[in-house]
C-alpha cells in the first residue's frame, strides 16, 4: 500500500529550481534508495516530505490524502521522521532521556524513564544501554537512538540522509540489520546514499535524480552499478565536450605533500601532492572528506593527535593548529560557506580586503592605515572586476558573484603560494562563474599551486590539470582531464 506520494513536487530558491516536478512514492515496509550526485535535489525532496522546507508547487499525498506540513514536528505527528547525518540528540543527556525528551511526565523519575526506555529498546532488538550518555556513544548507536525515537513517536516513514558516511564497517552491518528490522515492522525507509553497493544491497526500489529531476525509478534487481552511474551522470555530452581541455599545464615543484593524513572517521589515511603552476581538481561526493582535508592543510581543523599523518610544505613538515601560521606560510583556503566563514558581511569591501592583509601579518606598522586600505581595495577591486554601487558598500549588499570575489580577493591579498578554492562558484551567476574561472586559471599560469574542490564535474574537467577523486575520506584515484570522462570520475567516487 502506498504510504506517501508526491505529485509534480517542485522547490525553487530565488528562481533556481532545486527540485523540478518530481513524482515519487513509497509503500509500507519498503526501502527506497534515493541516489544522485551532489546538488541533484535528493535532500531538498526529502526535506519537503519531512516538512523541513515547504514546496513551491506540487502536492504531497499521505495515505492518498493531500497534506501540507508547517514544520518537521508537524510531519512527525503524521508519522514522518528524518534522521540527519548529524543527529539531533542532546549529547549530555542519557539515551533514555533523549528518547523521552519533550514527552516527560510532570514528576519524572529517571529510573522509571530508564526502565521504559530499556523495554522499548529491547522490543526493537537494539543493543543500547539506556543509561549511557549520548556523548559516549559511537555514530551507529547514536543513529539507533535517533531511529528508536522516531519509532517511539510512531513514525511510519523514516528518511535517512547519508546514514553510513561516518560509520565503520562493523557499525554499517548493525545499521543494515536495523533497517531490515524496521522493514519487518512495516516502516517505510527512504535511504539517501552515495554508496551504490549499499543501495543495491538493502533497497527494494531505487530512484535516481539528476539536476533536480527524477531520471528513473525501478526495482533494485533491474539496476547494476554501471546503469546507476550512467543515470547519475547522463548529462548531454556535447556541453562537456565543448569545454574539454586540450592541454594541461606542466607540473612545477611539489608545493604540498600530504601523507597518510587522518582525522577521525572523516579523513582516513589520505595522501596526495600539489604542484606549482597547476590546478589540482579535487572531486568527491558529500562525506568524502574533501573539505575537511583542505581545512586540515589550512589549519582550520586539526588532524588526529596521534598518528595523524604528515603535511609537508615545500618538503618541510608543518602542523598548523590555527589558520594564522598557515596564512603566513602562504596557504589560503577560500571557504565553501562564504556567508558563515568567508567575509565580514557588515564591513565594506575595503575593510574585508584589509582584514586579509592583517591576518597574513603583512602590516608593517601596528596601526591601521586608511591609505593602504584604500589602495588595496582599489587595486584588487579592479583586478577582480568587483562591481559595487560604491566603494564603501557593505559586502552583504553585493550580489553572490561579487561576494565570492571579495572572499577570493581577501585571500589573494595575502600573496599566497597555495590557494585552495572550496566550491568557488557555488551560488554564483553565470557571468561571474566565467570570471572566477578565468581568475583561477590566471593564478595557475602565474605559477601558484591551486586546488579547486568542486562537486560539479564539468567544472572539474574544465579547470583541472590533474583530477583527484576522494571517496570515504581518502584520495582514491587520479585522472588526467585529457583522458577522463564524467562517468569514469563518478564511478571512482562512489563505492
Amino acid at each position: 500500500m502506498t504510504l506517501i506520494e508526491t505529485r509534480t513536487l517542485s522547490k525553487s530558491y530565488r528562481g533556481n529550481l532545486a527540485v523540478d516536478a518530481v513524482d515519487f512514492d513509497i509503500a509500507e515496509g519498503e526501502v527506497h534508495a534515493l541516489l544522485g550526485e551532489n546538488g541533484a535535489g535528493k535532500s531538498t525532496l526529502t526535506k519537503m516530505i519531512a516538512g523541513v522546507v515547504p514546496p513551491t508547487s506540487g502536492e504531497i499525498l499521505l495515505d492518498g490524502q493531500p497534506v501540507a506540513f508547517d514544520s518537521p514536528a508537524d510531519a512527525l505527528k503524521q508519522g514522518i521522521a528524518m534522521v540527519f547525518q548529524e543527529t539531533s540528540l542532546v549529547p549530555s543527556m542519557t539515551v533514555a532521556q533523549n528518547l523521552y525528551l519533550g514527552d516527560e511526565k510532570f514528576l519524572n523519575r529517571l529510573r522509571g524513564v530508564a526502565i521504559s526506555a530499556q523495554q522499548f529498546l529491547q522490543s526493537l532488538n537494539f543493543t543500547v544501554d539506556p543509561t549511557a550518555t549520548v556523548a559516549t556513544l559511537g555514530a551507529a548507536k547514536r543513529q539507533m537512538v535517533e531511529i528508536a525515537r522516531a519509532v517511539r513517536l510512531k513514525a511510519r516513514i523514516i528518511i535517512f540522509d547519508e546514514p553510513t558516511a561516518t560509520l565503520t564497517p562493523e557499525e554499517k552491518r548493525h545499521f543494515f540489520a536495523l533497517v531490515r528490522r524496521l522493514k519487518e515492522r512495516k516502516v517505510a525507509v527512504i535511504f539517501i546514499s552515495h554508496a551504490l553497493e549499499e543501495a543495491l544491497e538493502i533497497s527494494d526500489r531505487i530512484t535516481v535524480m539528476r539536476d533536480g529531476a527524477r531520471v528513473i525509478t525501478d526495482v533494485t534487481a533491474n539496476f547494476t552499478r554501471e546503469t546507476i552511474v550512467r543515470a547519475m551522470v547522463g548529462r548531454t555530452l556535447a556541453g562537456s565536450e565543448a569545454s574539454r581541455k586540450v592541454a594541461v599545464r606542466p607540473a612545477g615543484d611539489k608545493v604540498l605533500s600530504v601523507q597518510d593524513l587522518s582525522m577521525g572517521a572523516v579523513v582516513k589515511n589520505t595522501s596526495f601532492s600539489v604542484f606549482a603552476g597547476q590546478i589540482t581538481g579535487l572531486f568527491g561526493l558529500v562525506g568524502s572528506g574533501r573539505t575537511e582535508t583542505a581545512k586540515i592543510v589550512a589549519g582550520v581543523m586539526k588532524r588526529d593527535f596521534s598518528r595523524g599523518g604528515e603535511v609537508a610544505l615545500d618538503g618541510q613538515p608543518v602542523r598548523y593548529n590555527t589558520p594564522r601560521p598557515a596564512m603566513r606560510d602562504g596557504i589560503v583556503y577560500v571557504t565553501e560557506d562564504r556567508k558563515l566563514e568567508g567575509f565580514f558581511e557588515t564591513m565594506s569591501i575595503a575593510e574585508n580586503f584589509y582584514s586579509g592583509h592583517l591576518a597574513a601579518g603583512q602590516n608593517k606598522l601596528p596601526v591601521v592605515s586608511r591609505a593602504e586600505m584604500t589602495r588595496l581595495a582599489e587595486s584588487w577591486s579592479r583586478a577582480l572586476s568587483i562591481r559595487a554601487i560604491n566603494p564603501d558598500a557593505r559586502v552583504v549588499e553585493l550580489s553572490g558573484g561579487n561576494q565570492q570575489k571579495v572572499v577570493i580577493g581577501k585571500g589573494l591579498v595575502q600573496r599566497p603560494r597555495l590557494v585552495i578554492f572550496d566550491e568557488p562558484t557555488r551560488g554564483v551567476d553565470v557571468a561571474a562563474i566565467a570570471e572566477i574561472h578565468h581568475l583561477i586559471e590566471k593564478l595557475a599560469d602565474d605559477g601558484l599551486a591551486v586546488v579547486v574542490i568542486s562537486s560539479y564535474l564539468p567544472e572539474v574537467l574544465k579547470l583541472s590539470d590533474r583530477i583527484l577523486v576522494c571517496r570515504q575520506g581518502r584520495v582514491v584515484e587520479e585522472f588526467s582531464p585529457l583522458d577522463a570522462s564524467e562517468e569514469r570520475i563518478m564511478y571512482a567516487s562512489v563505492h
Binding site: 554499517k172 607540473a251 601523507q259 595522501s271 583527484l468 584520495v475
Partner: protein, 359 residues
C-alpha cells in the same frame, strides 16, 4: 608551534610514504611494453658500438639493436653488477666479487679493486667521461653488490662514490657515508647525480668532491637505482622496488629485523624485492580486508616496476609502471637510443623495449 616539538614524542612517529601521484600516476606502460628479449635476471644494460649489451648473471651478451640472437661476449667468474663504456671502445665491468674489470680498449685486462685506499666492495654503478675518468659507485663497505636488502635491513650508510683517472692512475673518494648509491649520471659541468637507494633520493656531488652531497630530489615513492641520460634532455631513473608502510615499519623495529635476518631466507623477508608472488612461503600473501561483510584479498606489494622520466631540473615529469598485479618488476637499468628505451626488468627476466615518444 613550539609546543609541537614537545608533543611529537607522545604522538608516535607517523610511518608515511609519498603517494604515487602527479608524474608518478600509475599506468601499465611497462607491463604492456614489447619484450626485446627474455633473459634471466638482467642486471645492467649498455648501448655500445651499435649493439645492446646485457649483463645476465655471469654472462655479458651482445644483441643487435634490431633484435635477433645474442652473441656471448664474455663470461666472468662472478655475476656482473654494473657496466660502462669507455670512449676507446673498451668496457668497464663491475663484478659482485668486488672488482672492476676493464675489457677491450687500451686498458684491456686491468683489474681495479681499490681506489684511494677504499676497497670496491660492492660496485653498483659505473660512469665514464671522455678523458679516461671512471666513476664508481660502491653500494656498501659490508655487503656485496647483489645484497642490497641486507644493507637496507642493517640500515647501512657506508656507500661511496670514487673517481679514478685511468690514464694517470689517480684515485679520489668523492663522497662517503652514502646509503647504497646505485646510479650515477655525469652532468655537463662534471658534477655527478647519484641515486641513494636506501634514502630514496638523488644527490648532487661536485666533480672535486669537496662539498657535501646536496639532495636534488627527495622522498621518492620507491628505491632509486640506475640513472640514464634521456635523448630529449633530462634523465631516466629506475626505481627498483616500491616503498610501503609495512617495510617502513619493519625498518623502525630493530629487534624484529635482526631476528628476521638471522632466521629467514632473504627472499622471504619483509623487505623490498625484485619480484614477488613466486612462493607460497612469501609473507603478505594472506592479507585481507572485510568490506561489506565480504573478505577481499589484499597485501602491499613488495615488488613493482617503475621508471621515472626526469626533466632538466631533475623533476619527475612522467613515469612508466608495471603495477602490483604485473610481472615486469625490479627495473635495474635503462638505455635509450633512436627513440627506443630499453629497460632491464630483473624480476620479469626480460629486457623491455619502449617507444619513448609515448613516455
Amino acid at each position: 608551534m613550539w609546543w609541537d616539538t614537545l608533543l611529537d614524542p607522545f604522538r608516535g612517529k607517523a610511518v608515511t610514504i609519498p603517494p604515487m601521484d602527479g608524474a608518478f600516476r600509475p599506468n601499465t606502460r611497462l607491463e604492456t611494453a614489447e619484450a626485446f628479449v627474455e633473459v634471466a635476471r638482467p642486471e645492467a644494460l649498455l648501448v655500445h658500438e651499435g649493439r645492446l649489451l646485457v649483463a645476465s648473471g655471469t654472462d655479458l651478451l651482445a644483441f643487435p639493436l634490431e633484435g635477433g640472437a645474442p652473441t656471448p661476449l664474455h663470461r666472468f667468474e662472478t655475476a656482473i653488477s654494473a657496466l660502462a663504456g669507455l670512449p676507446d671502445g673498451g668496457l668497464a665491468v663491475g663484478l659482485v666479487a668486488g672488482e672492476v674489470r676493464l675489457v677491450g680498449g687500451r686498458f684491456d685486462g686491468r683489474v681495479v679493486t681499490e681506489v684511494a685506499g677504499r676497497r670496491i666492495h660492492a660496485p653498483t654503478a659505473l660512469a665514464t667521461t671522455g678523458e679516461g675518468i671512471l666513476y664508481i659507485a660502491v653500494g656498501s663497505a659490508r655487503y656485496g653488490a647483489d645484497d642490497w636488502q641486507s644493507d637496507l635491513m642493517a640500515q647501512g650508510a657506508s656507500g661511496a662514490v670514487l673517481r679514478l683517472d685511468l690514464i694517470e692512475s689517480d684515485g679520489r673518494i668523492l663522497a662517503d657515508g652514502l646509503a647504497w648509491p646505485a646510479g650515477l649520471l655525469v652532468e655537463p659541468d662534471r658534477s655527478l647525480i647519484v641515486s641513494e637507494a636506501s634514502r630514496h633520493r638523488l644527490v648532487r656531488i661536485t666533480g672535486d668532491g669537496r662539498s657535501k652531497p646536496q639532495p636534488v630530489l627527495s622522498n621518492l615513492p620507491g628505491y632509486p637505482s640506475r640513472l640514464a641520460r634521456a635523448a630529449g634532455g633530462g634523465a631516466w631513473l629506475a626505481l627498483m622496488a616500491p616503498r610501503n608502510r609495512l617495510v617502513e615499519l619493519v625498518l623502525t623495529e630493530r629487534a624484529y629485523r635482526e631476528d628476521m635476518v638471522a632466521t629467514i631466507p632473504r627472499e622471504l623477508w619483509i623487505a623490498p624485492q625484485m619480484s614477488s608472488g613466486n612462493s607460497f612461503l612469501e609473507p603478505l600473501q594472506c592479507g585481507g580486508v572485510v568490506t561489506m561483510g565480504v573478505r577481499k584479498p589484499w597485501a602491499p606489494g613488495r615488488s613493482y616496476g617503475l621508471i621515472a622520466r626526469l626533466d632538466d631540473h631533475l623533476r619527475p615529469v612522467a613515469s612508466l609502471h608495471s603495477r602490483a598485479d604485473g610481472h615486469r618488476h625490479g627495473i635495474r637499468d635503462m638505455a635509450e637510443i633512436g627513440g627506443v628505451l630499453f629497460a632491464a626488468s630483473r624480476g620479469g627476466n626480460a629486457v623491455l623495449e619502449i617507444e619513448t615518444g609515448a613516455a
